[in-house]
């Protein structure tokens, strides 16, 4: 591998990591702030991808599909929190695991009834459907760079929201002490509903924006879910900053692992997780 290819692989790792961050950020918020182990997070990713495909088919534009899809997923998230999650805050994690596992099955089946079990493709918007030539036979799709840009913007947005807004302050207060925040007059129920909806919308948005690259197919959220849990655990539960650092780390490890040690590439990220947890059991960054 010469130097220019090394740089391209760095870019690959960075780009993959940013995409992982987009999905993992929602999981770390819901997990860290609400204490909910949300196994259905990957299913929301799938729902987003199918919504993008379905709405783009009807409106003829991916942008329109995403603009329509986001409010829909926010509504889905809010209703799920209001109908189901709300009942579990005081309970053991096992109940949450059971409920959200059930949600996976329900969402998969609903998807099968509504949209069938076929693999669908989605076109990259014309404006972004170009490539930049890097070497004589390799070029880089502009759409991938666009995704990276969106991920960075979103990361910055989340950071500002949590650290520098009133709502962010309430979220942080609720995360550190639910009862105290409530007795200070914060409508903690509403805050939780919003956070859960934000988590669902983030996962679905990742599915939507990634749909043209990944294609749309049944149970596409499951592998994503597993890698997201790895990221959340490495990054430190509930830490958005940690999720960012861990995502880039996993992206790099996966990229260079596949190229340099293909024999064990499937294990690399898990070895990394095990190693890091021995060194820092609480993750790279702890708490928000």
């Amino acid at each position: 591998m010469n130097f220019s290819f090394f740089l391209i692989q760095l870019l690959n790792g960075m780009q993959y990591g940013l995409l992982l961050f987009l999905v993992a950020s929602g999981l770390t918020l819901v997990f860290g702030i609400m204490g909910i182990i949300n196994l259905a997070h990957g299913s929301f990713y799938m729902v987003g991808a199918y919504l993008a495909w379905w709405l783009a088919g009807m409106t003829g534009s991916l942008t329109a599909a995403i603009l329509l899809g986001i409010p829909l997923t926010v509504i889905l998230g809010m209703s799920l929190e209001w109908l189901l999650m709300r009942r579990l805050y005081g309970r053991d994690h096992l109940y949450q695991v059971l409920l959200t596992y059930g949600l996976i099955l329900v969402l998969e089946e609903t998807r099968s009834i509504l949209w069938g079990d076929d693999v669908y493709g989605l076109k990259v918007p014309d404006m972004l459907n170009q490539s930049i030539a890097l070497t004589e036979n390799l070029s880089y799709p502009v759409y991938r760079l666009f995704i990276s840009g969106v991920c960075l913007l979103l990361a910055a947005g989340l950071y500002v929201l949590i650290k520098h807004t009133r709502l962010g302050m309430m979220i942080r207060a609720g995360a550190s002490n639910r009862e105290m925040a409530q007795s200070l007059g914060i409508n903690i129920k509403l805050v939780y509903t919003l956070v859960f909806a934000l988590g669902v919308a983030l996962a679905a948005f990742a599915g939507m924006i990634n749909a043209p690259v990944s294609s749309v197919y049944p149970s596409m959220g499951n592998p994503v879910l597993i890698i997201c849990f790895v990221i959340v655990v490495i990054g430190g539960i509930g830490s958005v900053k940690g999720a960012m650092a861990a995502s880039i780390l996993i992206g790099m490890a996966d990229t260079f692992g596949q190229v340099l040690v293909p024999e064990v590439s499937g294990m690399i990220v898990y070895l990394l997780m095990a190693g890091l947890l021995v060194w820092r059991p609480e993750g790279l960054f702890s708490r928000i």
Binding site: N2, F5, S112, Y217, S265, G266
Partner: protein, 396 residues
């Protein structure tokens, strides 16, 4: 409602139905029971492979309809189990069909893991078993048995002929890329054997952890190696993404892409023009100049209002093979030996061309080289004539 409740209620309903039926038609009831052929379909009807399970079932039913609804003078009764592509449940599901439903024949499945799970049960019970789709070499290799037949093909069969094709085109050094799990490795091994025998060299074997679909680092690696051609095996959604990424990375058109059939099967609509020109070897194609295929396609569209695919063709052949057995013994399925003999020697007039069974009960068939043009896998040439799987390890 508890499990117990449900059982009791169902048991009660069944009981009363039996009494009512028995009181009204005692003799007719008993005769109907013995005169129908009991066919067990153990296929995926939900999940990723659902389309394949439905395809096989439709194909099977089409062939039955063409036989006037009867094999060997007997009507057919179906016992259907959704195997969910779950290997863990496979032995239990197969046992249900064999022990409880007492099927005359078991048909399944798609996922190789499920078929491997059925294998033990079928070998022990001796029930006639036809595998309509699963590719794992060992099913008609070390695990072969007199009562086990496969109507599809082995991984080896779809890959071995590709090597010669590549050498004829002057592609002497290639990179192979696939998922790092059993089927991926079987595909690689089959291709490698044919390619090295023809004098080619695989300069790098790349693996993606299964079922990941992040190909970017390996595509970069391919660009830096600059092989004469790339050979890949992925299936379903993974194949769709691979083809799209291959195009987006700019490799398409610079380094030709080849593979075994599933790389471009059932996903052409999803990938758009990313698959154009990709060539694969497979025992079936979309535009075969075979009378039987044209008739099959017309009949299928008429019956089901949709286009047939490889899975429907395989279901159709499965029924044809079973019919050959049952017809030979005139519906007397207790004569298992007679049936097996007839199935072993049958010439199946299939949409993919006429084929017959090898000693290990895997089709001896032509393998076509196909090229994606528009939304079709068009036949280019016959890559291997009457190719039989070597059936390594089969001692039956």
């Amino acid at each position: 409602m508890s499990e117990q409740d449900q059982f009791d209620r169902r048991g009660f309903l069944k009981g009363s139905a039996a009494i009512a039926g028995g009181a009204l038609l005692p003799t007719g009831f008993a005769r109907a029971q013995s005169s129908k052929l009991r066919v067990g379909l153990m296929l995926p009807y939900t999940g990723t492979f659902a389309q394949l399970g439905i395809g096989v079932t439709n194909g099977f039913k089409l062939a039955v309809a063409e036989h006037g609804g009867k094999f060997g003078g007997r009507e057919i009764e179906y016992f259907i189990v959704d195997d969910e592509s779950n290997p863990g449940k496979a032995p239990e599901n197969a046992n249900k069909l064999i022990q409880r439903d007492k099927v005359d024949i078991l048909i399944g499945s798609v996922h190789s893991g499920v078929s491997l799970g059925i294998s033990k049960v079928a070998r022990e019970s001796g029930t006639l078993w036809i595998i309509p789709v699963s590719l794992a070499n060992e099913l008609t290799g070390p695990l072969c048995a007199p009562n086990i037949f496969r109507t599809s093909f082995s991984s080896w069969q779809t890959n071995y002929p590709l090597g010669k094709v590549l050498m004829e085109r002057g592609h002497k050094k290639v990179v192979h890329i696939t998922w790092n799990y059993v089927t991926g490795q079987e595909n690689l091994a089959g291709f490698k054997e044919g390619y090295e025998k023809a004098g080619g060299k695989i300069i790098k074997e790349l693996f993606v952890p299964f079922p990941q679909v992040e190909f970017q680092p390996l595509l970069t690696e391919i660009a830096s190696i600059k092989p004469d051609a790339v050979v890949g095996w992925f299936a379903g959604a993974g194949a769709a993404k691979f083809l799209k990424d291959y195009q987006a990375s700019g490799l398409k058109g610079k380094i030709p892409l080849f593979g075994s059939g599933y790389l471009t099967d059932g996903i052409l609509e999803a990938v758009g023009d990313a698959a154009q020109g990709v060539e694969t070897t497979f025992p079936y194609a979309d535009d075969l100049d075979i009378k039987k295929d044209k008739a099959f396609r017309l009949a299928y569209v008429k019956a089901f209002k949709m286009q047939p695919d490889t899975a429907t063709m395989l279901g159709y052949d499965t029924a044809q093979l079973f019919a050959a057995g049952v017809n030979a013994v005139k519906g007397d399925v207790a004569n298992k030996k007679g049936m097996i003999k007839a199935m072993e020697t049958a010439k199946i007039d299939s949409p993919r061309g006429v084929w017959h069974m090898s000693k290990a009960h895997n089709p001896v068939q032509d393998v076509y080289l196909r090229k994606v043009v528009g939304q079709e896998n068009k036949m280019v040439s016959i890559a291997a004539k009457a190719l039989a799987d070597p059936a390594r390890g089969c001692k039956a």
